[in-house]
């Protein structure tokens, strides 16, 4: 009986914790599959509610930054792109202070956000941020050499630059395969970052 009582106590005390930990996983999974603006908007609203209820939860802030960057790719208006990228920067600035944060993922996302800036205005931002993007991805890989998102994004960015310069990029295929192999081993059933497989597809199509 005593054991049972303890279980109930634990259950009661852990309920709120379990609730958030469990609830963020499906949101992250929906986000990883989202393709259209309405889907991203829906997920963003959910994440924002999470983030407001648990401002110190790094994953909520991280995914908010991620969804904002994704929306900047999708939305047509320059003003809107700028708004979302500005908000993403605010979340990213907050992240390093939070408990349990994976800095390798933060630097990867910082790089992707800068890429969003380039995509929104290539002529002005291309020369301005190219170096910084590479620096962020390299920092991410220095912290975690097996971060598949940093691997594929760095490979793609370098390949785009080589294409732009009409130069050969012989190592590209192996880099993509290597990142793809790491993605295969990644656990997608938790709330931890697991996005990025679509970039592999994009890389293979671009060849």
């Amino acid at each position: 009986m005593k054991t049972m009582k303890n279980y109930v106590w634990v259950l009661l005390l852990a309920l709120p914790l379990l609730a958030t930990a469990q609830d963020l996983t499906p949101v992250a999974q929906t986000l990883n599959k989202a393709k259209q603006v309405p889907e991203f908007m829906q997920v963003r609203s959910k994440l924002e509610r999470f983030g407001m209820a648990k401002p110190d939860e790094w994953l909520a802030n991280y995914y908010l930054a991620y969804v904002d960057v994704q929306l900047s790719f999708q939305l047509p208006s320059k003003d809107e792109k700028a708004q979302y990228l500005r908000e993403a920067e605010e979340y990213l600035n907050k992240l390093p202070e939070l408990k349990g944060v994976e800095l390798s993922e933060v630097y990867t996302l910082k790089g992707l956000r800068l890429y969003g800036l380039i995509a929104s205005d290539p002529q002005t931002n291309g020369p301005k941020y190219s170096g910084e993007i590479i620096a962020n991805y390299e920092k991410a890989l220095a912290l975690n050499p097996n971060n598949p998102r940093a691997m594929i994004l760095l490979a793609l960015f370098k390949n785009n630059m080589a294409q732009f310069m009409h130069q050969a990029n012989p190592g590209f295929e192996q880099e993509v395969d290597k990142a793809a192999a790491v993605f295969e081993t990644e656990n997608t059933t938790t709330a931890n970052p697991a996005w990025g497989r679509t970039w592999i597809q994009m890389a293979r199509n671009s060849k």
Partner: protein
């Protein structure tokens, strides 16, 4: 007893479920114009219960929260909305949202200014835009002359804006004044900017009615902003047809340090491409600069910039009226600039700025006017400035600030037994305040005032300004009226310290429209000058006056053909003044009625190149022919120059830039100098003022040495 505890526990667990009874919250979200808002995030604060509004603005969700509920509505670009919901009043809720502060702050009053809304590319010219504009020869000021409002004064190189003198255009770096922004050259050789355009992230060019924060500029303000952070370690160098430069940046966790060194020597260039001038020692410029940046946290920036440059040359000159009168003008020019600023945004919404700048300029010329004379001019300025800005409500943002200029000028001229020396020391103290009012979602006003005291003439001046912007279906209409004051030029102040501050009333009205990579702009202005320094035959006074009026047109299109961008600019300007040596109301020598620029940039991906072609046209310049009656009684022929530039990305580490001016080999005449004809009493010889060389060729190779940086020609 144990069982009893367990029962109580189960009771509490059950209670949670009872209190967790689900209630429905329902209503709709409207924007400031009472139109439904899609995708607004509506939720109970502190929980994750909520929903997004649909395309009709409706929302509906259930919550198991008990008692009073705090409903929160969030939407990008809008202020957060919070309302307390009483139990039993959870349906038919109507929420009205209002644009947030960031969105409100992005609305910048547009007339007179090339900085428009946050993303307007028109306002944020980048260094790349400048360099790839043909005819800029990599120089900031040359490139600005392609914009409407700026006048083509080919022999000078300085900025002349909307019929105003070049000294009426002021340059600021990071909000701090720059005393001598131009390089020193010999007569009729165009000056360049001392600072590389690559140093700057934001280049905001105001062609009129500029903000009252900027002092002592009757016509225009060029506000340059350096980068707040430089997160990449890099090193590079660039050999060019005129010299060699190099430098780099070391990035740290919370800051960076940059150094740049540059040496120019025109000797080799002139030996290949001779000009019309006679150089004993060719033009040489050594410059070194450094910038330190420190970002202790994302909302705080400390920046310090130090620059020094030295110019030397010896040029042989022959007097126009006496070919045997030959002298060697020997120029030594030192310039130092130090600028230190601090910016912080606090959590409570205050933006704080403090800065200090020191400019020092020393010029020493032997054989300046005649052989064996010496001219020396030493000038320095300390500028201190502090300001605070805060948005108090959706309706009001306030900016207030204080600043002080301490100025010194010392000049000496020696020729045989004649010695003339004089100096002035004075201060300018000012307080300025601006209220930015959002009168409605499409009507904005900026009301400002600047109170200034100039110690040299013990004068108080007030510069009020009102700017209005109205947005009608995406078209921005704006109007500004403002008063501006500026002390007379030092050469007059040295003679008479009691000269009044010169004044200019500006009236500007314009329209701006931007859609799908196309920008249309039209602006008209009227400027009334008063209290200008006037050198009458026997007396110097402040009774000069004048006016300038005109229209500027601008059109930019990136959408006509893929990879092609073109720009059309036209300025019409009528300017007349009675001031300085113009003792009658007349058109000043630098003013032209028509100025037009057509600039094309074509990006050829297959060749990894950007090709730029610019054609600049200006109607004839007025000049004074002593053989005719009246002053400024004649006009030169038109000015026209076709310039070309090529930017080639040889690899991601090597960029080659080439430019050439005046491809049609036209001889542009800017003015005529007259000398008395000794053989024929009352007759004159006339000599045209023309470019020192028909073309200027620039070839530069920008090489990046470090690993990460790419396509980066900036060492900073």
């Amino acid at each position: 007893m144990k069982d009893f505890t367990l029962i109580i526990l189960f009771f509490f667990a059950g209670l949670c479920t009872v209190f967790g009874q689900q209630r429905t919250v329902e209503g709709k979200v409207l924007n400031e114009k009472s139109k439904p808002m899609h995708n607004a995030n509506v939720f109970i604060k502190g929980s994750i219960d909520g929903a997004s509004s649909d395309s009709l603005g409706h929302f509906s969700f259930t919550t198991d929260q008990a008692g009073e509920l705090t409903l929160c509505v969030r939407m990008m670009g809008y202020a957060e909305y919070i309302i307390l919901l009483m139990p039993g009043k959870l349906t038919n809720i109507v929420v009205k949202m209002h644009p947030d502060n960031i969105t409100l702050d992005n609305v910048v009053v547009t007339a007179g200014n090339f900085r428009l809304k946050g993303n307007g590319q028109f306002g944020k010219m980048s260094a790349v835009d400048i360099v790839t504009t043909a005819g800029s020869t990599g120089d900031l000021y040359h490139s600005l002359r392609t914009l409407p409002g700026a006048q083509m004064v080919g022999e000078s190189g300085k900025l002349y804006v909307r019929g105003g003198d070049s000294r009426e255009a002021q340059t600021y770096i990071d909000e701090m004044h720059v005393l001598s922004p131009y390089t020193t050259t010999s007569e009729n050789v165009p000056v360049r900017g001392r600072y590389s355009p690559f140093m700057f992230e934001g280049i905001n060019f105001s062609t009129g009615a500029s903000a009252s924060e900027y002092a002592q500029g009757l016509s225009s303000v060029l506000a340059l902003n350096t980068k707040d952070a430089s997160p990449i370690t890099k090193i590079g160098f660039n050999p060019s047809s005129v010299g060699l430069g190099g430098g780099g940046t070391q990035a740290f966790d919370k800051g960076s340090a940059s150094v740049s060194l540059n040496y120019q020597n025109m000797g080799p260039y002139y030996s290949l491409i001779p000009d019309r001038l006679h150089w004993v020692n060719p033009y040489q410029l050594f410059s070194g600069s450094s910038q330190l940046r420190f970002n202790p946290d994302p909302s705080t920036v400390f920046k310090t910039f130090i620059g020094y440059d030295r110019t030397t040359f010896v040029q042989q000159l022959t007097a126009l009226d006496n070919p045997s009168n030959v002298r060697n003008l020997n120029m030594k020019d030192d310039n130092f600039y130090l600028n230190s600023t601090f910016q912080k945004s606090t959590g409570s919404g205050y933006k704080i700025f403090a800065g200090a700048a020191f400019s020092f300029h020393n010029q020493h010329i032997d054989d300046a006017l005649v052989a064996a004379d010496t001219y020396r001019n030493k000038e320095w300025e300390v500028h201190l400035k502090t300001k605070v800005s805060k948005r108090f409500t959706d309706f009001l943002r306030l900016n207030v600030g204080l600043e002080n200029f301490f100025r010194h000028n010392n000049t000496a001229y020696n020729y045989t037994t004649t010695a003339y020396t004089d100096s002035i020391n004075h201060t300018i103290s000012a307080a300025f305040a601006t209220a930015i009012l959002n009168l409605s979602s499409n009507l904005h006003a900026e009301l400002s005032d600047r109170l200034e005291y100039t110690s040299i003439n013990h004068q108080w001046n007030q510069n009020p300004r009102l700017a209005l912007t109205y947005n009608l279906n995406g078209i921005n209409f704006s109007g500004i009226v403002g008063r501006y004051t500026q002390l007379a030029d030092n050469k007059y102040l040295l003679l008479d310290r009691n000269l009044l501050a010169e004044t200019c009333m500006q009236y500007v009205g314009g329209m701006y429209y931007e859609k799908k990579d196309k920008i249309y702009r039209i602006e008209s202005y009227y400027k009334q000058y008063d209290k200008l320094a006037l050198q009458e035959p026997t007396v110097l006074n402040s009774t000069g006056y004048g006016y300038s009026k005109g229209v500027d047109l601008f059109f930019n299109d990136k959408a006509l053909f893929k990879n092609l961008e073109y720009m059309l600019a036209y300025s019409f300007c009528l300017s007349k003044r009675k001031y300085e040596e113009y003792t009658e109301l007349s058109v000043p020598q630098y003013a032209t009625t028509h100025n037009a620029t057509v600039s094309l940039k074509y990006n050829v991906p297959a060749l990894k190149s950007i090709i730029g072609i610019t054609n600049r046209f200006a109607s004839g310049r007025p000049y004074h022919d002593p053989a005719k009656v009246g002053i400024m009684n004649s006009t030169t022929g038109c000015y026209n120059s076709v310039d070309m530039s090529l930017t080639y990305l040889a690899s991601k580490k090597v960029i080659i830039y080439a430019s050439a001016t005046n491809l049609l080999n036209r001889q542009n005449v800017y003015n005529y100098n007259y000398t008395a004809d000794t053989a024929q009493p009352g007759g004159y010889h006339k000599t045209p003022v023309i470019d020192s060389a028909p073309h200027f060729f620039y070839l530069g190779v920008f090489i990046t040495l470090s690993g990460k940086a790419a396509y980066d020609v900036s060492n900073f």
